[in-house]
C-alpha cells in the first residue's frame, strides 16, 4: 500500500497525555507519533478512549497533563480554532455538519481560514470580495468533483442520506487543505459499496495531496488494508503500536479484543 510515497519525519508527537472526566480516567499517559504522509489508524474496543484522543489532538478537550508537539512546536493546550489555524482538520463520529446549509456552503465553510475579506467588501459584493468568492468557489468545486457529489451541490445537507453526509463532512475538512486530517469512524454505518468509495477517497487524499491522516475505525478489514501503522488503545492506555501485520499478532491486542468486546468488529 505504501509504494509511491515516502513517509517522512514526525509531524505530531503526543507525550504522556492524560485526560479524566471527574473520577473517570479516559486516557492515561498515552504517547505516540504521527509521521508525515502516513495513514495512522487508532483502534481499540468501545470506550478505549479513541474519540477522546482525537478531541485532545484538535483542542476540543484539554489534557490534564502531557504535551503535543506539532510541526516542532510544543503545546499543552490549544483552542479548536488554533488547531485549525495550525492545519489540523477533522470529521466527527456522529456527522457534525451544518444541517440548514447546502453541500456547497458546508464545504465553503471549510475554507474560512483561507478567506480574507472584510465585512464592508462582503456587503458591497463587488470587486475584491467577489474575486475572493470566485477563487474559493473554484477550490470548493474541485473538492466536489473529487468526491463525486456534483448532484447534491445545492441540497441542504439535513436532507441527505447518512453515507453522503459523511462524504460532505470529509469535503469540508479537505477544503481547509489541512496538514493533518483526523477522521473519527469515517465508515461507520455505511454499506459495503459506500465503504469502498470512502476507502478510495481516503487513499486518494493521502496519495494525491500528501495529507497525513489519523483515523479511528472499527472495521478491521479496512484498517489492515489502508493504514501504514496502527495504535491500539485499551482502557485509556496504549497497548500496541506498529505495522498492521505486527499489531495483528500482538497478544495484548488479541486479549483486549477477545476479552472485552466480541462485537468490536
Amino acid at each position: 500500500m505504501t509504494n509511491g510515497k515516502s513517509i517522512g519525519d514526525t509531524l505530531l508527537r503526543v507525550d504522556d497525555v492524560s485526560v479524566s472526566f471527574g473520577a473517570v480516567a479516559a486516557l492515561t499517559d498515552v504517547s505516540f507519533e504521527i509521521r508525515e504522509r502516513e495513514i495512522l489508524a487508532i483502534i481499540g474496543p468501545n470506550g478505549a478512549g479513541k474519540t477522546t484522543m482525537l478531541n485532545v489532538l484538535n483542542g476540543v478537550y484539554q489534557p490534564d497533563h502531557g504535551t503535543m508537539t506539532f510541526n516542532d512546536r510544543t503545546y499543552t493546550r490549544m483552542r479548536p480554532s488554533e488547531a485549525a489555524e495550525h492545519g489540523i482538520a477533522r470529521t466527527f463520529q456522529n456527522v457534525a455538519l451544518f444541517r440548514g446549509m447546502t453541500t456547497l456552503d458546508n464545504i465553503f465553510t471549510g475554507r474560512t481560514l483561507k478567506m480574507k475579506s472584510n465585512l464592508f467588501m462582503q456587503a458591497i459584493y463587488w470587486g475584491p470580495a467577489q474575486k475572493v468568492e470566485r477563487e474559493h468557489r473554484q477550490a470548493v468545486e474541485r473538492i466536489i468533483d473529487f468526491l463525486e457529489i456534483e448532484e447534491i451541490r445545492k441540497v441542504p445537507v439535513g436532507r441527505l442520506p447518512y453515507g453522503l453526509q459523511k462524504r460532505v463532512e470529509l469535503g469540508r475538512a479537505l477544503a481547509a487543505e489541512p496538514k493533518l486530517l483526523l477522521l473519527d469512524e469515517p465508515m461507520a454505518g455505511m454499506n459495503l459499496e459506500e465503504k469502498e468509495d470512502m476507502c478510495r477517497f481516503i487513499l486518494d487524499v493521502n496519495e494525491e495531496f500528501g495529507t497525513t491522516i489519523a483515523l479511528i475505525e472499527h472495521d478491521m478489514g479496512v484498517v489492515m488494508d489502508i493504514s501504514d501503522r496502527v495504535v491500539v488503545l485499551d482502557y485509556g492506555r496504549k497497548i500496541a503500536d506498529g505495522h498492521p501485520d505486527v499489531v495483528r499478532q500482538d497478544s495484548a491486542v488479541i486479549d483486549a479484543y477477545l476479552g472485552v468486546a466480541h462485537d468490536a468488529a
Binding site: 451544518f98 465585512l119 473554484q138
Partner: protein, 354 residues
C-alpha cells in the same frame, strides 16, 4: 410566463453566484423595484405611502436586522426594540447637536452607535445560550428604555416625552411631502437590503449559519465563535439602529421612547418567525403580515362596530392577534418564505410533478 430554469445553463461561477440565478426571479425583482420606485409614488395616495409603505419598509428593515441575529446566527433576542431606540435617539441628538453632518451620514453614525451598544450586550453570548440569553437581552431592552427616559441630556435637556424631529435635507433637497419621506426610506431600505443579502450569501453569512447549526463544529474549522456572534450583534443592531432612526424621522416625525418598547421587540420577532427565519425575503413578508393584520382586524371590527363597545374591540384584537399567531405557527412553522419556496418548487416542475 412559465417559471422554468430549463435551458438556463450557467457558464461561469459568477453567473451561478449572482443574487438571483434564475431569470424569472431577476425579472420579478426588477418588476417589484419598478413598482416601488415609480408606480407607488406616482399613482398612490399619501395614505398608502405614509401609513402603509413607510412603516412596512422600516419594519422590514428592522426585521432583517433581527433575522441576521436570530435567523442566521441563531441568537434569540428580545431586546431589538432597545437597539432601535438607540438609533432613534442617536440620530436625533446628532441632527440637533451637530447639524453640519448630512442626514444620511447621521443615520449611518446612528446605526454605528447602535451597533456598538449591540456588541456590548452581545458579549455575554459567548457563555450564555438559548433562553438564558433571550432573558438577558431583556436587560438591554429595559436598561436602554430607562436611560433614555431618565437622563434629560438625551432629550435635549427637556423632560418632555415627545420631541419633534428636525427637518431633513438630502443633497440639497428638502424632504417635505409624504412622497419625499417614502422615497428616502425606500432608498435606504433598498441599499441595506442588498447589503444584507450580500453578507448572508458570502463568507460572513456562512460563518453565522455555521455557529447557529453547530457551534462546536464551527470552532473546529476555525470559525471564532465570539467574533462571529459579535459581528452578528453588531450588524443586527446597525440595521435596528437605522430602522429606529427612520422610524422617528420618516414615520412618526417625533421621538418618543415608548415607540420602542418591549412590545415592538416582540412584534419584530413575530415578523421573522411568520415571515421565515433565515430569509431576507421572509423579513419583508413577515413585516407586511404584522402591519396588515391589525388594519384588517380593525376594518372587519368596524363593520360590526355599531353594536359593539370599543373596549371589546381592543380585547378582540388581542385575542385574534394571539390566536392567529398560534394558528400560523401550527400550520406553517417555517414561515411565509418557506410557503413561497414550496410553491416555486412545485411550479418549477408543473405540470409533471415527477
Amino acid at each position: 410566463m412559465l417559471y422554468r430554469e430549463a435551458g438556463q445553463f450557467k457558464t461561469s461561477y459568477d453567473a451561478d453566484m449572482a443574487i438571483f440565478p434564475i431569470a424569472q426571479d431577476r425579472w420579478g425583482m426588477i418588476a417589484i423595484v419598478v413598482i416601488a420606485v415609480v408606480i407607488i409614488p406616482l399613482f398612490t395616495s399619501d395614505y398608502i405611502m405614509g401609513s402603509l409603505m413607510i412603516p412596512f419598509l422600516i419594519w422590514g428593515l428592522s426585521a432583517i436586522g433581527l433575522n441576521i441575529l436570530t435567523g442566521y446566527a441563531g441568537q434569540l433576542s428580545l431586546g431589538h426594540g432597545g437597539f432601535m431606540a438607540v438609533g432613534g435617539f442617536a440620530a436625533y441628538n446628532l441632527a440637533v447637536r451637530v447639524p453640519e453632518i448630512p442626514i444620511l451620514g447621521t443615520f449611518i453614525i446612528a446605526g454605528l452607535i447602535a451597533a456598538a451598544v449591540g456588541v456590548v450586550f452581545g458579549l455575554p453570548s459567548l457563555r450564555i445560550k438559548g433562553f438564558y440569553l433571550a432573558v438577558t437581552t431583556l436587560a438591554a431592552q429595559f436598561f436602554i428604555e430607562w436611560v433614555f427616559a431618565n437622563f434629560p441630556w438625551f432629550t435635549g435637556g427637556t423632560m418632555s416625552m415627545t420631541l419633534d424631529t428636525p427637518s431633513m435635507v438630502v443633497f440639497g433637497y428638502a424632504i417635505e411631502s409624504t412622497r419625499d419621506h417614502y422615497l428616502l426610506t425606500l432608498g435606504i431600505v433598498l441599499v441595506l437590503t442588498l447589503a444584507a443579502k450580500n453578507m448572508v450569501r458570502s463568507q460572513l453569512g456562512r460563518a453565522w449559519m455555521a455557529i447557529r447549526d453547530m457551534d462546536v463544529a464551527a470552532e473546529v474549522i476555525g470559525i471564532r465563535p465570539l467574533r462571529t456572534k459579535l459581528t452578528a450583534f453588531a450588524v443586527s443592531s446597525f440595521y435596528a439602529g437605522v430602522a429606529g432612526a427612520l422610524y422617528a424621522f420618516a414615520f412618526l416625525k417625533s421621538l418618543d421612547i415608548t415607540a420602542y418598547d418591549l412590545f415592538r421587540s416582540f412584534l419584530v420577532l413575530f415578523m421573522i418567525i411568520i415571515g421565515g427565519l433565515g430569509s431576507i425575503l421572509g423579513s419583508f413578508l413577515g413585516a407586511a403580515f404584522i402591519i396588515l393584520l391589525p388594519i384588517f382586524i380593525n376594518v372587519v371590527a368596524h363593520n360590526f362596530s355599531d353594536q359593539i363597545k370599543p373596549d371589546f374591540i381592543t380585547n378582540a384584537e388581542l385575542m385574534i392577534f394571539g390566536g392567529l399567531i398560534i394558528f400560523f405557527l401550527i400550520v406553517e412553522p417555517f414561515g411565509l418564505a418557506r410557503l413561497w419556496m414550496t410553491a416555486k418548487e412545485k411550479l418549477r416542475l408543473w405540470p409533471f410533478p415527477h
